[in-house]
């Protein structure tokens, strides 16, 4: 047993030194391979996180949001506007919402200030999102001040920090008391940002929207199901991209594997011959070469995956910018919450490491079974 372990150690040592000896070639291989894993893993992590974010957002969204438009642009809801809607069949609840963006010049970031529907934030208090808390070093019962639109500095006490359930929904969110909100932004009394309508019966939603459009021609109702559809089409499109990426990647991979499969270098073959002649078994040679392939593919997998993780969750997947632009209509910026799905990782692993190992095994096996006396005649 001990000598078995020792033997594996020798094999690994030898493998590492062979990898270093053919540094250029192996580095090239590693780069291509890591890149492949990177692209696939990015697409995978990104789509998975996106779906999750969408689910989290839509879960809490009202069925209909009504915006008022002035010359095609989103404008405030004036007083009395909500009363015009009055009683409408199928609508459980109508509620004016107050929210807005704020640019914090201290950390050069945009926040979303919002008044919670349940009025749960006391005057002078704030509840902040996790990203913001991190940026400004805030925790419960600490103080923070922001420069209000009037120009004066206003201080608040942090009542709580939101849990990191969804970055899109809450990362840069600040929950504030209604009076504070109006005072802070100089928000005209009786005005609202938009109107949220709760409709219990999904079949009524279209009717409600139609009635709203007729009743208030200067408004635009946004339906949750429409948002769902937007997301869905976004995903479909992205899945199309992913499929294209996938087939390109698989093609590249096939070429790579073929390159490997179509032959070991003359040097490698000679080396295998020497090893066999001096007493290495076919199995030892294959094992050594498998360690080699395994080390390359595992390293590539790890590098590619970690790079993809950083790309998607730290930098917001800049390579997927076109898709992100679609999102920016709804949200000005967002960082995805890191989510890793074990099954997905396993799938990716299976589709990258496994075929590579299979592809390298064939030529190795062919070289390793050559007669050991061949070396005598070179």
């Amino acid at each position: 047993m001990k000598s078995w372990i020792e033997k594996q150690r020798h094999l690994i040592d030898f493998t590492l030194s062979s990898l270093l000896r053919r540094r250029g070639r192996n580095l090239g291989l590693l780069v291509v391979y890591s890149l492949l894993v990177f692209v696939l893993a990015s697409a995978m992590l990104y789509s998975h996180a996106l779906r999750r974010e969408a689910a989290v957002i839509l879960e809490g969204a009202p069925e209909v949001v009504l915006q008022r438009l002035v010359a095609g642009r989103h404008d405030l809801i004036p007083p009395g506007y909500i009363d015009k809607i009055g009683q409408m069949r199928g609508v459980q609840d109508i509620r004016g919402r107050l929210w807005g963006y704020y640019y914090d010049s201290v950390v050069k970031a945009n926040y979303t200030f919002m008044v919670p529907a349940d009025g749960s934030v006391a005057k002078g208090a704030l509840v902040v999102g996790p990203a913001l808390a991190r940026q400004r070093g805030l925790e419960a019962n600490t103080g923070v001040s922001f420069r209000a639109y009037s120009g004066e500095l206003r201080s608040f006490i942090i009542a709580d920090v939101l849990p990191q359930a969804s970055e899109i929904a809450s990362a840069d969110l600040i929950l504030i008391n209604e009076d504070d909100f109006r005072a802070f932004f100089n928000y005209p009394a009786g005005h609202y940002t938009d109107v949220a309508l709760t409709v219990a019966n999904a079949k009524e939603v279209r009717n409600v929207a139609n009635k709203l459009s007729k009743l208030l021609p200067d408004s635009r109702p946004i339906l949750r199901e429409e948002m769902q559809r937007t997301y869905a089409s976004l995903f479909d499109w992205r899945e199309g991209i992913m499929l294209a990426l996938l087939s390109a990647a698989i093609l590249a991979f096939a070429i790579l594997a073929w390159e490997k499969a179509s032959g070991l270098s003359a040097d490698e073959k000679r080396e295998i011959g020497i090893l066999k002649a001096i007493g290495w078994e076919t199995g030892d040679v294959i094992r050594m070469k498998l360690w080699e392939g395994g080390l390359i593919s595992l390293t590539a997998f790890l590098l590619g995956f970690v790079a993809a993780y950083v790309h998607v969750f730290k930098f917001g997947a800049p390579l997927f910018a076109p898709v992100l632009k679609g999102w920016a209509v709804l949200y000005p910026r967002f960082d995805l919450v890191p989510v890793i799905d074990g099954l997905q990782v396993a799938t990716l692993f299976f589709f990258t490491v496994f075929p590579y190992m299979a592809a390298v095994l064939v030529p190795i096996w062919r070289a390793a079974v050559t007669d050991p006396d061949a070396v005598m005649r070179s």
């Binding site: 001990k2 000598s3 078995w4 372990i5 020792e6 033997k7 150690r9 020798h10 094999l11 040592d13 030898f14 030194s17 062979s18 000896r21 040097d267 000679r270 080396e271 020497i274 090893l275 066999k276 002649a277 001096i278 007493g279 290495w280 078994e281 076919t282 199995g283 030892d284 007669d371 050991p372 006396d373 070396v375 005598m376 005649r377 070179s378």
Partner: protein
């Protein structure tokens, strides 16, 4: 210790390019002696050496080692016997490029699973003995022909084999280096190691170190000089 009985070896048997490299050889090789195979090119010396050294199996006939028939053993067992019993010095030396001298020496011992430190010590001692200690970290391709051969000899000895097998050991060496090789060979003879080599270099075959000379021609033994 090694007996060959009516050993024949064909290459590409049954094909149009069939060659009979050995056409019936019976030969006993005694332990603790230096045996040299001599003969013109193509006479089958190398082929015979591969059969003796368990690198290949005869087409027909028997090869026994210490009375045990090894001609029909599967490759796995042959490899193990080869590793334990034989050390090889090839004509082209066949060092692995890119590896240092000492790594090359240690290579045949890796599958044995002996601890690394023990191996390194033994390799070091062998290089010392062959006056190569100062070149231990030099890469194989930086070594001169003579140095390469001595590394190859050290490599052949790392598993402490009973038998040293050398194919044309002086073919790539000048006279001075060939003489040096004979001196090393002499020390093996004095140690009582079994050596089997092929050569058509008179410097080797006429040497007093060679205890027994076997002449070959056209895949057959010519006659015995004792």
């Amino acid at each position: 210790m090694i007996e060959l009985r009516d050993v024949k070896k064909a290459f590409n048997q049954g094909q149009h390019n069939e060659v009979w490299a050995l056409s019936g050889i019976s030969l006993g090789i005694e332990a603790k002696r230096v045996t040299a195979l001599r003969g013109p090119s193509g006479s089958g010396k190398t082929t015979l050496l591969t059969l003796i050294g368990c690198l290949a199996r005869p087409t027909s006939g028997r090869v026994t080692l210490h009375g045990r028939d090894i001609s029909g053993l599967p490759e796995r067992f042959l490899t193990e016997i080869r590793r334990k019993t034989f050390g090889f010095v090839f004509q082209q030396f066949n060092l692995v490029k890119g590896l240092s001298a000492i790594e090359n020496v240690m290579l045949p011992a890796y599958p044995t699973g002996r601890p690394h430190r023990e191996l390194a010590q033994r390799a070091e001692a062998l290089l010392e003995r062959l006056r190569l200690a100062h070149r231990r970290d030099a890469r194989a391709e930086w070594l001169s022909g003579g140095e390469q051969q001595r590394v190859a000899i050290a490599r052949a000895l790392i598993n402490d084999p009973e038998v040293l097998v050398a194919d044309e050991p002086t073919a790539n060496l000048d006279t001075a280096l060939a003489k040096e090789f004979m001196a090393i060979l002499e020390s093996f003879g004095a140690e009582g190691r079994t050596v089997i080599l092929t050569s058509h270099d008179p410097l080797v075959t006429e040497s007093a170190v060679v205890g027994r000379l076997v002449d070959m021609r056209d895949g057959l033994l010519v006659e015995h000089h004792e």
